[in-house]
């Protein structure tokens, strides 16, 4: 028997995960489009908008709702390992390898849920644009699939990876502690950047990417070099650490 990875055990784990969570997953499929539609309608009818504002709303919804949803899924995934001892004991007694457990987490949190979420996002976006164009005949918007940058997704994937690792690392409330640590980490980055660069303001535009408004000229300079790459490095690092933590997890 291969103790590192077996497709049979992986398939059994997927089946067990599906049987255990199918109601919750189906409920998500129903709620995601309803909430997205609601958000698009609320934001677009809040005040009369122009097409450029629509782009802003688009990204705002993606970052807030989709971001929160992806992080929420990451918090829940390894819940079994950090809430109650009996849950941890149950999870650890199932004959699966750490790599199989991790691969399920990866497929579910990083691929399946984002794919569903992004698909729904674009479908609802398409419908919302149709409604917007009907309401504002003079200011038509073209539907674009590329409105949401890939870096937004990578940013969320990195945050989700940190949360998954945190859920395994901390004994209780690991997901929430990880979110607080991420916020502190980003605030520190902004503070350090503010200290060393002449500026009027520093804005966080993406995960680890800053925009500096230069003093005097008012020029906007975006900094997405070292910090951003460093933050993205957290993604593979957290998965490696999660694998090690899963092997060492005690009940």
């Amino acid at each position: 028997m291969n103790d590192v990875f077996s497709f049979k055990r992986f398939a059994l784990s997927v089946k067990a995960y599906w049987i255990e969570n199918k109601k919750r997953i189906i409920l998500k499929f129903i709620l995601i489009p309803i909430i997205l539609m609601f958000l698009f309608l609320i934001l677009n009818s809040w005040k009369p908008i122009k097409s450029y504002q629509y782009d802003f709303h688009d990204e705002f919804i993606f970052i807030t709702f989709c971001g929160a949803f992806l992080c929420g899924n990451a918090i829940r995934f390894f819940n079994n390992y950090s809430t109650k001892r009996e849950m941890t004991m149950f999870s650890l007694s199932i004959p699966t390898a750490p790599l199989e457990r991790l691969l399920i987490a990866f497929c579910y949190v990083m691929i399946f849920i984002p794919l569903i979420l992004i698909s729904f996002f674009f479908i609802i976006d398409f419908i919302a644009i149709g409604i917007f164009n009907n309401l504002h005949q003079s200011d038509q918007i073209m539907f674009k699939l590329s409105d949401i940058p890939a870096s937004d997704y990578i940013g969320f994937a990195t945050i989700a990876s940190v949360i998954l690792f945190g859920s395994l690392f901390f004994k209780k409330y690991g997901g929430f502690i990880s979110i607080i640590l991420i916020i502190i980490f980003l605030l520190l980055q902004i503070s350090i950047t503010s200290l060393f660069l002449p500026r009027e303001a520093v804005n966080l535009i993406e995960f680890g990417s800053f925009e500096i408004i230069e003093r005097g000229t008012g020029n906007r300079i975006s900094i997405n070099g070292f910090m951003q790459y460093f933050n993205y490095l957290l993604l593979p690092l957290c998965w490696i650490l999660s694998y090690m933590k899963l092997r060492e997890k005690e009940a």
Binding site: A16, I19, L92, S93, P95, A97
Partner: protein, 280 residues
């Protein structure tokens, strides 16, 4: 099947629960693990299951360190803890989710056991009482046909008929290559069931012996008065129940597990010497 050598284990660095513990458990035996509350029974079981890691020493299961928790090892081990967790599933869904992980899972036996415990496959685990949930998990554990079956306080929460059913089922599961460990503080529940007794105290093993050896070395008596030289005695309905050294080494009296336990707790050193346990 299970070999523990020089095991040091504790939840904090300052206080070790086990200090150089040695234990060897083989197949074809039902072991009764006894001890007062907090003596480390559950911790020992968790070390065997690889859920807790030794500070030093080794715990080998099928010749491999238990902390590795290899799937090939875990698929031959089943653990029913005292505090159980059940996912929000129906019993049939639970079976369909987890039975596949155990290569010799007997679906027919599972159905029979459920029937005997008066449970229905369509029952939702979360809506069952603690005792019923425990019965469902015990049925699953027994049907898994693993080489090692570990149960921590399995009779807690079970009603009187279920306890009797549980004993019958465990007795029917005993096989040559299967090692069953039942940890309990309710000695009378497993008295007629076990082949071997392990008594733990303060992280140390006071007695590890099979029943044959126990009844050869100790005499269990019921007499009107306390016999002279008794290691331990207690007054009960029907006379004085006592445990004495059995000098002629022939089987003597009816074995009482709770009496043995109390006698051991009252005469730790003497009992340890009697059963010739190496560690002091």
């Amino acid at each position: 099947m299970i070999k523990i050598e020089k095991l040091k284990f504790g939840y904090s660095k300052d206080r070790l629960l086990f200090d150089n513990l040695d234990l060897s458990l083989s197949g074809g035996c039902i072991y009764g693990l006894l001890g007062r509350n907090g003596t480390g029974k559950t911790s020992l079981l968790k070390v065997i299951m690889g859920m807790c890691f030794p500070k030093s020493g080794v715990c080998k299961v099928f010749g491999l360190p238990s902390e590795k928790r290899l799937p090939s090892m875990l698929c031959e081990m089943m653990f029913v803890p005292e505090e159980i967790f059940t996912p929000s599933l129906r019993i049939a869904e639970y079976e369909s989710s987890y039975a596949g992980f155990y290569p010799r899972f007997d679906h027919k036996l599972f159905k029979t056991l459920l029937k005997e415990f008066e449970l229905n496959e369509a029952d939702k685990l979360k809506s069952l009482s603690l005792g019923e949930r425990k019965k469902a998990l015990l049925a699953f554990a027994m049907a898994a046909n693993t080489k090692i079956l570990i149960m921590d306080e399995p009779t807690n929460g079970l009603d009187i008929p279920s306890k009797s059913q549980f004993r019958q089922m465990i007795a029917s599961l005993a096989m040559e290559n299967r090692c069953i460990i039942v940890s309990t503080h309710q000695a009378q529940d497993i008295e007629k069931l076990i082949d071997s007794v392990i008594i733990l105290d303060n992280g140390d093993i006071l007695i590890q012996s099979d029943m044959e050896q126990i009844v050869r070395k100790l005499a269990f008596q019921i007499s009107p008065e306390k016999p002279s030289g008794a290691l331990y005695s207690e007054e009960k309905m029907g006379g004085v129940y006592s445990v004495s050294k059995n000098d002629d080494e022939g089987a003597c009296g009816e074995f009482h597990l709770d009496l043995l336990f109390n006698a051991t707790m009252a005469n730790k050193t003497a009992m340890k010497e009697l059963f010739n346990h190496k560690k002091s």
